[in-house]
Amino acid sequence: MRANLSLLQHLVPGGRRPPVHDFPGGVHPAEHKAVSNQAPIAPGPRPRQLVLPLNMHLGAPARPIVAVGDRVLKGQMLAEPAGAVSAALHAPTSGTVVALGPRPIQHPSGMDALCIVLEPDGEDRWTERRAVADHTRLGPGKLIALLRDAGVAGLGGAGFPTSVKVNLGDHQRVEQLIINAVECEPYITADDRLMRERADEIVLGIQILQYLLNPHDTLIGIEDNKPEAIAALRDACADSDVEVRVVPTKYPSGGEKQLIQLLTGKEVPSGRIPAQCGVVCQNVGTAWAVKRAVHDGEPLLSRITTVTGDAVARPGNYEVWLGTPVTDLLHHAGVDKGRLGRLVMGGPMMGFTLHDPSVPVVKTSNCIIAASAEELPEPPPEQACIRCGACAEVCPANLLPQQLYWYAKTDDFERAQHHNLMDCIECGACAYVCPSHIPLVQYYRYAKGEIRTQTAEQIKADRARERFEARQARLEREQAEKGARRRARLEANRKKQEAAADHAPGAGDEKLAALKKEVGQASSAYKAAVKAAKTAEAQEADNAEELRARADSLKAEADRAKAALRDAKAATPAPTAAPAESSALADLKKAVGEASSAYKAAVKAAKNAEAEQADDADALRARADQLKAEADRLKAELREAKAAQGPAAAPAAPTPPKQDKNTAAEKPATVGDDQAAAKRQKRLKALKTAYNVAHKQYKEAHAAVERAERAGQDSEEALAAMHAKVEKLKAKADHCRDALDALVEQAKAAILAHTGKDLKTLKLDAARAESVLRDKADELERRRDTSDADTLETLNSELDALQEHAQLTRLALKTAVEEQGLVEE
């Protein structure tokens, strides 16, 4: 440390020591930088295809604005930013969009994501470029929009859209703008070479950022292991107010919060962002991209990527088109496949292993390490933590890594959060020094992921609770409104009756009302009968004729009743029904209702008692039986009374017996097939499982083959073998499906044979009957307030008939499906 500081004093001309602070912890891994920083930046490969993921940056994926087959020019926008935190995507060269679909991308999960695939035409023809010579004349608003449209995102590693980072509110004062040129991870030299060769452009970019952020100080933080880059920057900054500050080499001084602490002494509080402390940090590569976007009118099309490691013949830095597959880049750098042990994207401390070399280079890919097996060897097995505390000494965020490790290991996420797990920057210093080779960072990543999932679930649960409660409240309100309406209606009816009683207590009105009622009942009985007859006909029941005849006679009855009503209305009403009789009937009905409800209550009580094994269960059961007998007797009386009153007074009577007949007619036909159906049901189930398994295997194999083809690494024979396997699996799945289909067809045919209808008709019948029923119910509800009692009565009985019908169709469907073993699990 002291040696580093004395070195610093040498580097600063004039002996003025810039105030450089320190951050806790840190490690000094072998740098390996000389491998790649000797040669100047070389142009990258010109691949056959460019794969451009829509989420190269942090935030929402961009929204594609091109279609497959479109010809695009270099620099043309392919996808626009979607949402506040997002960045645009441009064509790195001219060519044709050949696909828009999922491809493997730069993600540790190895999952696919939506990508635009571009086939270069080799002409590299530019679209119209709009360069802005003087950015101050554009104004901050337009400048930010320009950066957003140019797709500029942080090139340091996280890929945060720059337009969002520089767009601070007016109230936010920026004290320091820090340009991060530290590049502290081993192996990576992309920024180093960029600064040596393009320092002027970087400083122009910094000036644009200064204009946008208006900071008090602008500091470039750079590690003392890059003397050439320091000299180049010092030269370029000579006549500007940008200050180059050299920091001692220590990993991870390039971490945003660590660098801020180094240069300003400020510690960004937990859970805050630097902007809240008056600091904005930008990567040096981003500054270069900003300059290119503004002064040259070039959107972000390429980046400097370090290709290094023992397995490449020409390690160095390449200016790579975004979307270039890593495979092409490696070939360009002369990869020796035999020596390639581990392929890493990013640095060795924070990067991740690439399992599929076909993934593209994106805005955040600063380094590809093609390491030999000796260089980045297989990690040794994890051993038990010996609580040596070395990890705590090197943690740059002042955390307690070993405590966090224990909590992550035991899934004690709450405790881990109390120990500020979320402040971990995943720098890997703890894992680097761990003598037990514990993959500490992986444990923290696992714990962080689980915590994020839990938080998301909690948010979702809260929203579900809100929605559930809102729905409950709505249902209650509707219920209350309904109740209020009903009460109001009853009140109105009562008043009307009272008024009628006051006005004309004569017998005429009463008789008229009775007549009306009779008409209503007769017509509803007729309708129900017609419906029953129709159903019977459809099912080819024996009694269809009989029912039809009955319906006709009921119609005659109804017509007669209507005529009588007309007559009564026209002249003095003819006496038809004795009011005393109908009131007796009503009494009887009421008695039946009471008796049956008493019986039901008794049964319930008895059941409860039985469930609790109470002593008086038997007594209750006996009482229930008694009540039932009573109710039956009353019902019989009611029936007799109704019969005595005439056929028209028995609404909806014809339906129930018909139902009985139907089920009775169906039963004998199906009993013989029961066994066959059960067998079929079993086979169906087994086949379904077999098909699912086979289909899944086929899909997986197919996907594997596609992946292998894209990677293009396997030999011809291996591919052929894989293809053969896929074919075999497909045949198997097809066979299963055919058998399954045949069986289902068989079952459907059986249904057709039994019921005279196929399954679909049955299903549709059921659904239709339901919806007609609901319509009727709605109508009834609607007219309840407006229509008179008789219409309502009619509607009610129609509703009853429809209900019967719906129940019948549903029953038919259910029996058909169940008997044939087509029941869905």
């Binding site: 072998a30 540790p108 990067g351 680097y432 992986q442 559930f468 409660e469 059921a766």
Partner: protein, 194 residues
């Protein structure tokens, strides 16, 4: 004698004073509702699936507060049972998930739209209003709001609702737990000083 009387009087005075203060506080800072029900409800997963035998999570929370077993929530799994046992100071019971589907896989309802006849039955069944549609119009599920409770599947007259697994996306993917002591951690990159 007077000292004794003075002491008694002083104590009585203090007792009256504190009684008044406590009486006032119990009126002034009265807690509305039953806070324990809120706490239980907050721990339940809010799928509103009714697998516990109650019409929603809150009714079950109320039932738990009144002494019902706290292990009847299959979607919550063992973690919820543990959390509830912790909150209520009860024993950790084995999860009562007989006949329930594996709750570790998150599911979402999916309507096969070609087959939907627009009967609105699923809309009425959905406890969180996550299905949109109108009579005789096609219905669809708002996947983000669906709790995967299954309640819409049975009422559908044409069986056009499937419960599908929620696929893992880049946004929901998380790192696996490392294999543990004695295994090689696959994802770790070993940096050595050659």
């Amino acid at each position: 004698m007077t000292t004794v009387l003075i002491a008694i009087a002083a104590l009585l005075g203090l007792a009256a004073l504190f009684g008044a203060v406590l009486g006032y506080a119990s009126e002034k800072f009265k807690v509305e509702g039953d806070p324990i029900v809120e706490q239980i409800d907050a721990l339940l997963p809010q799928t509103q699936c009714g697998q516990c035998g109650h019409p929603g999570c809150r009714p079950y929370a109320e039932a738990i507060a009144e002494g019902e077993e706290h292990n009847r929530c299959p979607p919550g799994g063992d973690t919820t049972v543990e959390a509830l046992a912790d909150l209520l100071g009860r024993e950790v019971l084995p999860l009562d998930n007989e006949g329930a589907e594996d709750a570790s896989v998150e599911r979402v309802a999916w309507i096969r739209e070609d087959e939907c006849i627009g009967c609105t039955k699923c809309i009425q069944a959905c406890p969180v209003d996550a299905i949109v549609g109108a009579a005789k119009q096609m219905h669809t599920v708002i996947a983000d709001e669906c709790t995967g409770c299954d309640l819409c599947v049975d009422p559908c007259p044409v069986d056009c609702i499937d419960m599908i697994e929620r696929p893992v996306t880049l946004a929901t993917w998380t790192w696996n737990r490392p294999a543990g002591i004695g295994r090689r951690p696959e994802q770790r990159i070993e940096v050595v000083n050659l």
